[in-house]
Structures are given as structure tokens and as C-alpha cells.
């Protein structure tokens, strides 16, 4: 089903034969990956399988030793995560990379704050605009956070995750990458993150999610890519495999 739907549409991201070595260790070995619009792809694999390293090549942290990356058909090379972001590849790190002392609106705009002239004298940060725009993007994602002017520190884990996702979406992410987004969350908050991923999907933004949590994976993924010792060993529609199949692929007994 999925495959058929994909033929004809261009992938948002194509990673072709990516390889990354650390000294003698081949952390990612000749891995290719296509991501289609509105698709949620889970990256599964045991510890040290190479998931994070693969993601880091796509988000501009590492430069691949071999291989190519295409974004909407055009080859891209990224010297830094910042460059990846400016291309529309937003990564939400496990530690979220938020400033806990600042409020949600500032965090959404951090590094790209809008300004307006005050009395024609100096440029001041336009907090009202930030608040209005933050409300818009949170509405769009169906996120309700009371009092956006509170510092992030006073928010729950799920709300923080939501702010991080809202930030990615506001800046018109063409691809959102999440590394272990639910690792530190309680069950209700995990649900909330799943809902957010579904919302992103509805808006046609593709998501790559790394998770060790099989429940996570089956709750959100359309497709599951399994890695083992740097190789891609599986690429299957989520509906066609069971937990046991996945574990077997991950440990290599299939």
C-alpha cells in the first residue's frame, strides 16, 4: 500500500550510500534511506547500531565519509547543524536544547528574534509579535500551554517537548528529526508527543524518530528502518511486522 502511494511522489530526503568511520570502526556502513512527504519513519536498532550517527550526518553534525544527501532532489552538503536548519532540517535533541530560564515564546524564536524600532532609536525585540506568532503555531499543532510567558523551567516534560516541536514547525521544517523524544516522559506525556507527531504528519511534514521503545514505534511509525552494526538490515512497513520480528532483526537472529 505504502509503496504504491510513494511511487510518483518525490522523496523529501534521499540519503544514498552514506558511510561514516570513526578510526577503524565503521559506525554507518553504506546506508541508503528515502523519506517521503508526511511519512513517519522509525529508526530502530540495538545500542551502538549507528542510528545517532546516521541522523547526525543528515542534520549536519557529521560530514559523511562517503555518500550523498539530496533534499527535494537537490544535493546538499552541510558544514554545521545551523546550515541544516537553514535548509529546513530541524533536529529535536533528546536534551531538547531549550533555555529553561526563558519563556516558550523566546525559545521558539531563539537566535532569530524579530525586532522593531523603538522611537526610531534602537531595535528592540518584538515580544508581542513573538507571543502572537507562538500562539498561532501552537494552535496549529493543537497544543495548549497556559501562560506562555512562564519560564520553560516551570513546564512539564511534555510541554517542553511541545515547545521544541513548535519551534521546528514554526520555521517551516521540511523534515523533523527526533532522537529519543519520549525517553524522559511519563505515559500521558508520551501520548501527547505521539499526537504531535501525528499532527506533523497531517501537515505533510515527514518525521524521522529514533526510539528504543517499541510502543513508541508502533504508535507513530509508517515505516521502520532497522540498523545493526552500521548496516541497514530492514526497511519494512510498520503494519507488516510484529514486536518479535523487529527484535529478531535488531539482534540478527532472523
Amino acid at each position: 500500500m505504502m509503496e504504491k502511494q510513494n511511487t510518483g511522489t518525490q522523496p523529501v530526503l534521499q540519503a544514498v550510500n552514506l558511510t561514516k568511520r570513526f578510526g577503524g570502526l565503521v559506525a554507518v556502513n553504506n546506508v541508503s534511506l528515502d523519506i517521503y512527504p508526511g511519512e513517519v519513519v522509525a529508526l530502530a536498532g540495538d545500542n551502538g547500531a549507528g542510528k545517532s550517527t546516521l541522523i547526525k550526518m543528515i542534520s549536519g553534525v557529521y560530514r559523511p565519509d562517503a555518500g550523498h544527501i539530496y533534499l527535494e532532489g537537490r544535493e546538499i552538503t552541510m558544514a554545521s547543524p545551523l546550515e541544516a536548519r537553514s535548509l529546513g532540517i530541524e533536529t529535536i535533541y533528546q536534551d531538547l536544547a531549550l533555555c529553561e530560564n526563558l519563556d516558550a515564546t523566546v525559545n521558539i524564536f531563539l537566535g532569530r528574534e524579530p525586532t522593531k524600532r523603538l522611537l526610531g532609536l534602537f531595535k528592540q525585540v518584538d515580544r508581542n509579535l513573538m507571543l502572537a506568532e507562538s500562539n498561532k503555531v501552537l494552535d496549529r499543532l493543537d497544543i495548549h500551554i497556559p501562560n506562555l510567558r512562564r519560564p520553560i523551567r516551570q513546564m512539564s516534560g511534555g510541554q517542553r517537548q511541545a515547545v521544541a516541536i513548535a519551534r521546528a514547525v514554526y520555521w517551516n521544517a521540511r523534515l523533523v528529526i527526533m532522537d529519543e523524544p519520549t525517553a524522559a516522559l511519563g505515559v500521558p506525556e508520551q501520548r501527547k508527543v505521539h499526537e504531535l507527531i501525528h499532527t506533523l504528519k497531517r501537515q505533510n511534514v515527514p518525521v524521522i524518530i529514533i526510539s528504543h521503545n517499541l510502543q513508541d514505534i508502533f504508535a507513530v511509525a509508517d515505516r521502520i528502518v532497522v540498523m545493526r552494526r552500521g548496516h541497514k538490515v530492514g526497511d519494512v512497513p510498520a503494519g507488516e511486522v510484529t514486536d518479535d520480528d523487529l527484535v529478531a532483526m535488531m539482534v540478527g537472529s532472523a
Binding site: 536544547a97 533555555c99 526563558l102 523566546v106 531563539l110 534602537f122 516551570q154
Partner: protein, 357 residues
């Protein structure tokens, strides 16, 4: 269960509120106490004296506020101030006697600033580029600036022989004399030497300088990108970097700013006391950090305001003044400030601990 979280919430709320307003209450309490207990405390004359005496402290504390919000500390401020004061005094003395006063002051200011900028730049580069902990980098600069100040001055204060300098440093915007009336910028002309005693001044120049710097620094910190980035860097440097904030450049600018305010304070010292001394700012490290921390800044970085620091500086200055008025040995001031700074840090830590739960 529910009750418990409710309890934690409300005690956190109280702690948060307390940590925000205790300094105001403390200041009010002190003012009330000294007004009742001390003769001549609550007079316009004495209040102006308190403000004028805190100008140097407040000016340096502005820079320290930025530094501490960014998650650092500048231990070198006092000795950078002294070095700038010595250099500026030396330059003022070298100028021809016929030079106009404004030229003398500006030349001194510029020379002092130049020296301080080198110190600030070195601090900034060490901290931002080479990842030296701020405590160590500025401790090194503490020693260097101290040595340079003493070497250049031969260990003695440098008297400044410039006519009218002291008048500028201790001057007022407005003067009033019971018989000669009001005058602007200088005392009414034609007053006999003995009559000068009955003159009252309003709005000391140094207080005006302090207020202008304070307002500019407050607006910059609370409204501009630079200010916001200062908070972001102090809150989570890694996140600030990933968000694309030019963290290195901002940090260098912050330490340059701190050195700039130290140099300005050095020149204020020059004109107020008509000399430049290498150890002019010896007490400034304790006093500025105390003012900033009392004012609600966190030594963990990410929190603080210029207005808070103003309250902190007021507390220190009122304390010093009040003790003198009560004829208490002024050395008690150091002990009192030491105790207040420790209390402030304890409150900050309690708040931090609660926030993490």
C-alpha cells in the same frame, strides 16, 4: 498525593516570591531603621551623599550584572578600574596646562578605556574562544592589572594637577544659596569663600552619570537581542549555540563591557578624588558581586536585572552610610556585606534546588 503536590507548588510560589522581593524589603527595613535610629539619615543632603558614594560601585556592578547573567564572573573589575585610574591620571597630568577641562577628561577617559579594553578583550577571548573558566581567566587578569597599576604608579596614588577637576567630580547640576538664590552648573557668582559653606547642591554630576549609564544598560539588557542572548547564554550555552546565537562574539562583548564600566568608574574616581590609585577598586569585587547577587541574579547564570543590582548597590551603600551615622566602626560594613551576600546565595540555591524538583 494531590495535596502534596499542592503543598510543593505553594511553597515554591512563596520561595519564588520571597526571592524576588526580599531585597526590597531588606532595603526598606534598613532605611526605616536608620531613619529612626540615626540622626540626619533621612535628609536630602545625606540621600545625595549615599547616591554619590555608590556611583563607582554601581557603574562597575552594571558590567558585573551582564557577566553573571551570562553564567560567568569577572574577578578583575576592581584592579582593572585601578589600572585605568592610574593610566588616566598619568595622561591627564601630561597634557599641557592650557588644555580645556573637557579635553583633559576625555583624554584621560580614552586612555583608561584603551587599557581596560585590552584587559576585557583578553578575558573575553580566553573565556569564549579558549574555554578557560571565567573564574580562572579573570583571576589571572586580577593579578596582571594589579601589577600594571602598581608598576605604573610606583605603588603610590598619582595626584592629578588639573584645575577644576575636583569641582567637576564633586559638582552639582543645581546650586542654592539662602541669599544669592539658585544657579545652574556652578555656584552663584561673587560668593565669598566663607559663604560657600551655606551653599546646597542638588543632583551631583556623578549621580547623573550613574543614572544615565544605568538606564542605557537596563534598556539594552531587557529589550535588545544582545540582552536576550545574554540570558540565553547563561541559561543554556549549548542551546544558545545550536539556536545560532553567535555565543563567542557575545561573550567577548560582555567581558569588554565589564571592563568598559570598570574604566569609566576609574575615571569617576579620578575626578572625584583628583588622584588615581592602583588599589582604588580594591573593595569592588566583593561589593559588585554582592550587589548583583542581592539583586536577584543567579551565580548559575541566566537570571538577574540591572534594577535588581541597583537595589543591591543601594543596600550596600545605605548600610555603609547608616553605620557611620550610628558611629559604628565602618569596618563592620565588610562583615555585614559578607553576611548579606551569603544569605543571597543561599536563597538563590534554595530556589535552584526547588526548580529542579
Amino acid at each position: 498525593m494531590r495535596l502534596q503536590t499542592g503543598e510543593i507548588r505553594s511553597s515554591r510560589f512563596w520561595l519564588d516570591t520571597l526571592s524576588k522581593i526580599w531585597a526590597w524589603l531588606f532595603l526598606l527595613g534598613m532605611v526605616a531603621f536608620f531613619s529612626v535610629a540615626g540622626d540626619g539619615f533621612l535628609t536630602p543632603f545625606n540621600i545625595q551623599a549615599i547616591l554619590a558614594n555608590m556611583a563607582i560601585l554601581m557603574i562597575i556592578a552594571i558590567g558585573q550584572t551582564y557577566v553573571i547573567i551570562s553564567g560567568g564572573i569577572d574577578l578583575s573589575v576592581g584592579w582593572v578600574m585601578g589600572m585605568a585610574a592610574v593610566i588616566s591620571a598619568t595622561v591627564m597630568n601630561r597634557l599641557p596646562e592650557s588644555s580645556p577641562l573637557w579635553l583633559v577628561v576625555l583624554s584621560g577617559l580614552f586612555a583608561g578605556l584603551l587599557a581596560a579594553w585590552i584587559a576585557g578583550l583578553v578575558n573575553g577571548i580566553l573565556i569564549a574562544r579558549l574555554n578557560v573558566p571565567p573564574f580562572i581567566a579573570t583571576l589571572g587578569m586580577f593579578g596582571i592589572a594589579r601589577g600594571i597599576g602598581f608598576l605604573l604608579s610606583g605603588g603610590m596614588p598619582v595626584p592629578i594637577y588639573v584645575r577644576g577637576l575636583g569641582f567637576l567630580g564633586n559638582g552639582f547640576l543645581l546650586y542654592h544659596h539662602p541669599t544669592a538664590g539658585w544657579s545652574f552648573l556652578s555656584p552663584p557668582p561673587g560668593l565669598a569663600q566663607a559663604e560657600l559653606r551655606n551653599l546646597t547642591g542638588y543632583f551631583p554630576f556623578v549621580v547623573i552619570v550613574m543614572l544615565v549609564l544605568l538606564v542605557i544598560a537596563h534598556i539594552t539588557l531587557s529589550r535588545t537581542k544582545f540582552g536576550l542572548h545574554t540570558y540565553a547564554i547563561g541559561g543554556n550555552k549549548e542551546a544558545a549555540m545550536r539556536a545560532g546565537i553567535p555565543v563567542e562574539r557575545r561573550l567577548v562583548a560582555i567581558y569588554l563591557l565589564s571592563a568598559t564600566f570598570a574604566a569609566i568608574a576609574g575615571i569617576v574616581y579620578n575626578v572625584r578624588f583628583t588622584n588615581g590609585a592602583a588599589n582604588a577598586g580594591e573593595a569592588m569585587l566583593l561589593d559588585t558581586v554582592a550587589a548583583v547577587v542581592i539583586g536577584g541574579a543567579s551565580l548559575f547564570g541566566g537570571a538577574g536585572t540591572v534594577i535588581g543590582t541597583l537595589i543591591g548597590a543601594l543596600i550596600i551603600s545605605v548600610l555603609a552610610n547608616g553605620l557611620v551615622i550610628l558611629r559604628v566602626n565602618p569596618f563592620w560594613q565588610f562583615i555585614a556585606v559578607g553576611i548579606v551576600i551569603i544569605i543571597a546565595v543561599l536563597i538563590d540555591q534554595a530556589r535552584e534546588k526547588f526548580a529542579q524538583e
